[in-house]
Symmetry: C2
């Protein structure tokens, strides 16, 4: 768990306080750890609770955003139906906003990050999984069942052709483009590679325990053909995800965040190239493709932004369903 005090301009006033979640200790202990992380963040900013206007909380997994509940999070067993928002609001006596973590990260990038000049944006977060968030006109598209922007499970291939996703379905974007699946595709590609001798293959043979997406991107940047194929395919798959959000919400900007984007401009340009190839001609001529700028701070900055919205609008613009 991570927390920081963020000012009205979207700037964190200290490095975030970080505590282990220890989900196995149960939800009571989890909620207390959440409160303690918040207290430490306030102390780290050299403030007291009376200086804090509102609190924003963002969590992963299955939730009811409107009711402020964690429902049944796969990564936080044995938690179930945890009233996160109301608990925090009661303990601290502050207006408390609650949001999905990827939506919060999207709102952070929209508020003060890569999309701060845009009126609408979609974020894809590339990590162990693929997450997403959609912001249109300062409104987070939460969805009627809190599943708005579940972009990792946007299908880019038909179920009968598609790769198997961790969610049990086939063809999800996540099954192609998460860091985990980039590594998996690389292993598969190496097994059948008939191109020129690959440094990536040599590295893998010596270090199969430390074989990561970062290593693959590093070798691709150095011109390794096998690694380049993996990266090219990744850009293609991500572009198919981008094309789907263009055909649904047609945003001004599409932002990609997460470890792989450290590769930089050459990788961004590959995604953009594929969006132009495979997207609807008119909107893809104009859509801006960018990488996130807030790094791993996007989530808590965005959660603070949601708290700020709550105070400014009474929650109207923030709760969209």
């Amino acid at each position: 768990m991570k927390a920081a005090v963020v000012n009205d301009a979207g700037q964190p006033l200290s490095r975030p306080a970080v505590m282990d979640t220890n989900p196995e200790r149960g939800q009571e202990a989890g909620l207390e750890t959440m409160c303690e992380t918040i207290r430490r963040a306030v102390a780290a900013a050299q403030l007291t609770l009376s200086d804090i206007t509102a609190i924003g909380v963002a969590t992963p997994g299955l939730m009811d955003i409107k009711k402020g509940l964690i429902l049944d999070p796969p990564n936080l067993k044995p938690w179930k139906n945890v009233p996160v928002r109301d608990h925090i609001a009661r303990v601290f006596g502050k207006p408390t906003a609650y949001q999905n973590d990827a939506n919060a990260a999207a709102y952070g990038e929209f508020w003060v990050g890569a999309a701060r000049a845009a009126k609408s944006m979609v974020l894809f977060t590339l990590g162990t999984g693929v997450g997403g968030g959609i912001i249109l006109d300062d409104t987070i598209i939460e969805g009627e069942h809190s599943h708005g922007g579940e972009l990792g499970h946007l299908r880019i291939a038909m179920p009968d052709h598609g790769r198997l996703c961790g969610c049990g379905a086939r063809g999800c974007l996540e099954a192609y483009a998460s860091a985990t699946n980039v590594v998996r595709r690389a292993r598969e590609e190496m097994a059948s590679w008939r191109g020129p001798a690959s440094q990536l293959q040599a590295y893998y043979t010596a270090n199969d325990d430390e074989f990561t997406a970062k290593i693959i991107f590093h070798h691709a940047a150095n011109g390794d053909e096998l690694a380049l194929k993996i990266v090219d395919d990744t850009a293609y798959f991500l572009a198919l995800g981008a094309c789907a959000v263009i055909a649904t919400v047609d945003p001004e900007m599409i932002v990609f965040g997460g470890g792989m984007t450290a590769a930089g401009e050459w990788f961004r340009a590959k995604i953009e190239h594929n969006v132009h190839r495979f997207g609807l001609p008119y909107p893809t001529q104009h859509v801006k493709i960018a990488f996130a700028s807030l790094g791993s701070d996007a989530g808590f900055i965005g959660a603070a932004g949601c708290a700020r919205l709550l105070v400014r609008t009474g929650g109207g613009a923030q709760v969209h369903s």
Copy 2:
């Protein structure tokens, strides 16, 4: 072109006035025909222009919704950059709303049709092509480049596997599920059919000039196995489109409209079955799948609804980008 006077409860006060567009006569003549259709609609309702509060206009094709322009419509050559909204507003001296035709149809179904009780909905219109519209909380998702809800070009198969679409791309939903493509798939299926003797095949051999989606659905309803396969596949493809909008905007309701939905409940149930099979488990347990209820009136009723919104909100809630 079609027009009718619609009251504040969403009821047309007469059957619509209808006039030929004759696009080849140019855009000046087209705009005058549009005005004349509106005048005839007012007369058909036994009203005068002073009884009309506002006007809503909806057109197909490439447009700039915010600026009220038809840009470069494939079906209305040689029109280009036609200032539809401002022309109508000037001629009639009334507040004039402008909208994409499928968005207007979606708004009609949302306002007083199949989704009138829903807070958010997505419409798929199944005709010669596949159109779409997304309404979230009384807001039409127009998109930053007026391409919000272009659901016919949502891709359901990868470009290298996908069927060729009229737009030039591969894998678009429209290339599978428009009435035109249902017929095309049926022709292909008949060529390779090895199942039991098919009445559909017999009909086709005798009437290949009058072979329509309606005929295919009719034979499927009568238990013809070949026709049933085409319908089952159509339901599957439409469900993949529905799953994509669930993973992006997660609406309360998904509505299908157009000629094929005349098939009724058994076809709706097939779509729903596939949504449950292939969609994100939690939201698909709750999403409502329905058929449209306004028929071909949805467009002008929805356009009137947009005009009503314009007057009530000053356009704020209607113009979403």
